[in-house]
């Protein structure tokens, strides 16, 4: 569409430049304009209401500022919750421990450690709520400990400032030039469905090379997490999205199932191609074409949910026909290829079912009043609790170091340093490259310190009245927020915002005391530096310890598939595996050779788990006796071990267990008293076992190769 528009007019150079500016720069400047407006509104209301710390209200606006209104409201929500929890804890701590400074400071450090652990365990804005609960105790506790009689006043004024700030931020984000998250989401959802249909058609046509396939899978996995985050935040945006929430969750869940189904089928057919099983490939081709054709509407992939709805009906009509044709196709291949072909048909039918469910879930998004076709499972993130706990301990150690220095040297600005250390430890614990993030923030702090000095020495003494204050702050805020809107320099902008506003201090009673501000600013920079140092000394990011642990956890998902209760298992498994993989692969682009291997591992895990679940589904039907069940369970645990710790011994054990289970099944199938249903179940179990056996072959070659590689490297 956009290319047509460009060709329709003959653009002059100026027009092109203008359009480029509109596309690249306008969103950033809209963000700057909205943020600055909201910030000054908050400052004005703070002054008007006469609260003590109007700048906290302004800072709140700058902190919760996000390009889309749903994100602003979500972040605000968790900021309020975190602040309130933090205030309650502060009051309790002060009540019991205010008499003894060391005990109080130690308790605050422990509480913050707990909150940092929570922040590292949860994702997105929930994690931000924990951060707030932690550092509010610093922010309120230290001043209040020096004036216990003023505790309630300090706590109330902090709460009012935060509330005024989020009120202004939310108001401006929703009313002035609203950029809605739900619109962005519609775009994401449409784009993803379109991409998937194109991907499926190309994969079915056999056009995809291995590395391209991997790249697409990686992008899909990253997309799933993005959509999950957006859905989570847009819940706060408006009631329409809340109505749609369950269907969006379903959409994401079915997408995971469909992409796993696609992968399993594709892997199997690649295996057939590699082994040159011509008959199977030829028998499957017409089925592929049927499925591929049913995905289109008027000769192209459906562009909207409404079109997807009719494609879902098309697919629903196709499925019985496809099953019929597929069984006819099995009959045509020679006897020797029949088992492999039946497995391929199983996978194809499974995939077409998943694809139908996915399309149906997308179609359901079109109709606002309609309920979700099925109940939608929640996305299950899978963070490492041990890592989170260790991050908490690290934060406690860093805080104690700063506190000891503060108390031992009677440093007047110690509280600011402790505060910033707490913020730094919590904010960047989860980040894939915390060192880089801290350096950026530090740079922003330094920039903020110098601009603050210039402002408070040269400009502040000449100001008269609120309009002049606004005018004098405006250029600095525009600069820092333009940096925030820039993807590369966001950290610098955020740091500049924080330090500049917290030290330039336009409060109700303006104190012109540049020396105190400069000292305090330097204390903040020092506090951040301690956080940064703690990141690089204690448990540096990307430590092999955590990586190895997470890789083990990834492989252990096979064991999870074998043993966890069946209810909602497929979805839990899909989301846990993907979540773990994303934790291991921070950047979608340029994951490198190691990234490729990890992705490969995750895809193998998903493929094997898919077969295991199919097997367990078949087992739930009748016709399998206790001995077979026991043999299959034994095989399950051997298989899980072979995947978790690939070694020849474990693989042989798995193979033996597989053979025993298979012999037992063959023995059962000889029984003439079986009815047709029981035979079908047993045959299906046999095919699942066969698939798992083939996956085990791949694992063996892979293990042999890696151990060779390691031997060479050593």
């Amino acid at each position: 569409m956009s290319t047509d528009a460009v060709q329709a007019q003959t653009p002059t150079a100026a027009a092109t430049a203008w359009r480029d500016w509109l596309r690249d720069e306008a969103p950033a400047w809209i963000f700057v304009f909205k943020t600055v407006t909201a910030a000054f509104l908050a400052l004005w209301i703070g002054f008007r209401f006469g609260i003590d710390n109007a700048r906290s209200a302004m800072l709140t606006v700058l902190i919760v500022a996000q390009p889309q209104s749903g994100l602003v409201v979500a972040k605000s929500f968790y900021r309020v919750i975190g602040t309130l929890v933090g205030l309650v804890v502060t009051v309790l701590l002060l009540h019991f421990l205010a008499q003894s400074r060391e005990l109080f400071v130690g308790a605050v450090a422990l509480w913050i450690g707990l909150c940092v652990a929570g922040a590292a365990y949860f994702r997105g804005f929930r994690s931000y709520g924990f951060l707030l609960a932690g550092y509010t105790t610093c922010l309120i506790g230290f001043p209040a400990a020096q004036h216990p009689e003023a505790t309630y006043a300090i706590a109330l004024s902090r709460a009012s400032a935060v509330l005024i700030g989020i009120f202004c931020a939310g108001l401006v984000a929703q009313i002035v030039l609203p950029q809605r998250l739900s619109d962005a989401m519609v775009k994401t959802v449409r784009g993803r469905f379109h991409d998937f249909v194109v991907f499926v058609r190309r994969a079915l046509g056999g056009e995809l090379k291995r590395d391209e396939l991997q790249r697409i899978h990686h992008r899909f996995i990253a997309d799933i997490l993005v959509l999950e985050t957006q859905r989570d935040a847009s819940y706060f945006e408006n009631p329409e999205v809340r109505v749609r929430d369950e269907r969006l969750r379903l959409f994401n869940a079915e997408f995971m199932a469909a992409s796993t189904g696609m992968h399993a089928l594709h892997q199997w057919m690649e295996r057939m191609r590699r082994e040159q099983r011509r008959h199977i490939v030829e028998a499957m081709a017409p089925l592929y074409r049927e499925l591929s054709a049913a995905l289109l509407r008027h000769g192209r992939p459906p562009a909207t949910a409404l079109e997807a709805h009719s494609v879902a009906l098309q697919l629903g009509r196709l499925r019985p026909r496809l099953a019929h044709d597929a069984h006819a196709a099995i009959e045509q291949v020679p006897e020797a290829d029949r088992l492999d072909c039946a497995c391929a048909v199983d996978l194809l039918l499974r995939f077409s079912a998943a694809l139908h469910d996915y399309t149906e879930a997308y179609g359901a998004l079109a109709n606002p009043g309609q309920r979700a076709p099925r109940s939608a499972p929640a996305f299950v993130p899978h963070t490492d609790p041990l890592a989170a706990a260790l991050y908490g301990v690290r934060a406690v150690l860093a805080l104690l170091a700063v506190t000891v220095f503060w108390i031992a040297t009677a440093w007047p600005n110690g509280t600011s340093a402790v505060l910033v250390t707490a913020v730094g430890c919590a904010l960047f614990a989860q980040s894939p490259a915390p060192g880089f993030a801290v350096r950026q923030m530090g740079l922003g702090y330094v920039l903020g310190l110098f601009t603050m000095m210039a402002w408070s020495l040269a400009i502040l003494p000449r100001l008269d009245g609120f309009p002049m204050l606004v005018l004098s702050l405006l250029p600095f805020l525009m600069l820092s927020n333009r940096l925030v809107a820039h993807p590369r320099y966001a950290g610098i902008g955020a740091g500049m915002n924080l330090l500049f506003i917290s030290e330039a201090a336009p409060d109700n009673v303006i104190a012109v005391n540049p020396v105190a501000s400069i000292n305090d600013g330097m204390a903040q920079i020092l506090g951040l530096a301690v956080a940064g140092i703690s990141f690089s000394i204690l448990l540096p990011a990307g430590t092999t310890l955590f990586r190895r642990r997470n890789i083990r956890r990834l492989k252990r998902q096979v064991a999870y598939a074998c043993t966890a209760p069946m209810a909602g298992l497929r979805h839990k498994l899909e989301s846990r595996t993907r979540d773990l993989l994303i934790q291991l692969l921070p950047a979608p682009a340029g994951a490198g050779a190691e990234g490729e291997r990890l992705l490969e591992t995750a895809l193998v895990v998903l493929e094997v788990a898919d077969a295991v679940i199919a097997l367990r589904e078949a087992l739930q039907r009748e016709g399998v006796d206790a001995l077979t069940r026991r043999l299959l369970r034994g095989f399950g645990s051997a298989l899980a071990r072979a995947h978790e710790m690939p070694s020849p011994a474990h693989q042989t054990a798995a193979r033996d267990a597989l053979r025993r289970a298979d012999e037992r099944l063959q023995h059962l199938l000889l029984d003439p008293g079986l009815n047709a249903r029981e035979t079908a179940t047993l045959r299906e179990i046999q095919r699942c076992l066969y698939r798992l056996g083939r996956a085990l072959d791949d694992l063996e070659t892979d293990t042999a190769m890696t151990s060779d590689g390691e031997a060479h490297a050593a």
């Binding site: 609203p178 408006n238 009631p239 009043g369």
Partner: protein, 66 residues
């Protein structure tokens, strides 16, 4: 109506419970209208919702300050 209420021995401005009540009513109306799909027909949903809240809160506040 009195301008301040006695709440556990504390004087609370009557506007506070009115504000909370208006917020609750707003939440109810909001989800109801969202469910009916009304917001698809409105030019600026956020502005509409803000105005709705101002009407609710302002109207109720008139009971106190008249």
């Amino acid at each position: 109506m009195p301008r301040e209420l006695d709440f556990l021995g504390m004087y609370v401005p009557t506007l506070l419970p009115i504000f909370l009540g208006a917020a609750g009513l707003q939440w109810l109306l909001d989800s109801l209208l969202g469910r009916l799909g009304l917001f698809n027909r409105i030019w600026h949903p956020a502005l509409f919702r803000l105005s709705l809240f101002v009407c609710l809160f302002g109207g109720a506040a008139l009971l106190v300050y008249r």
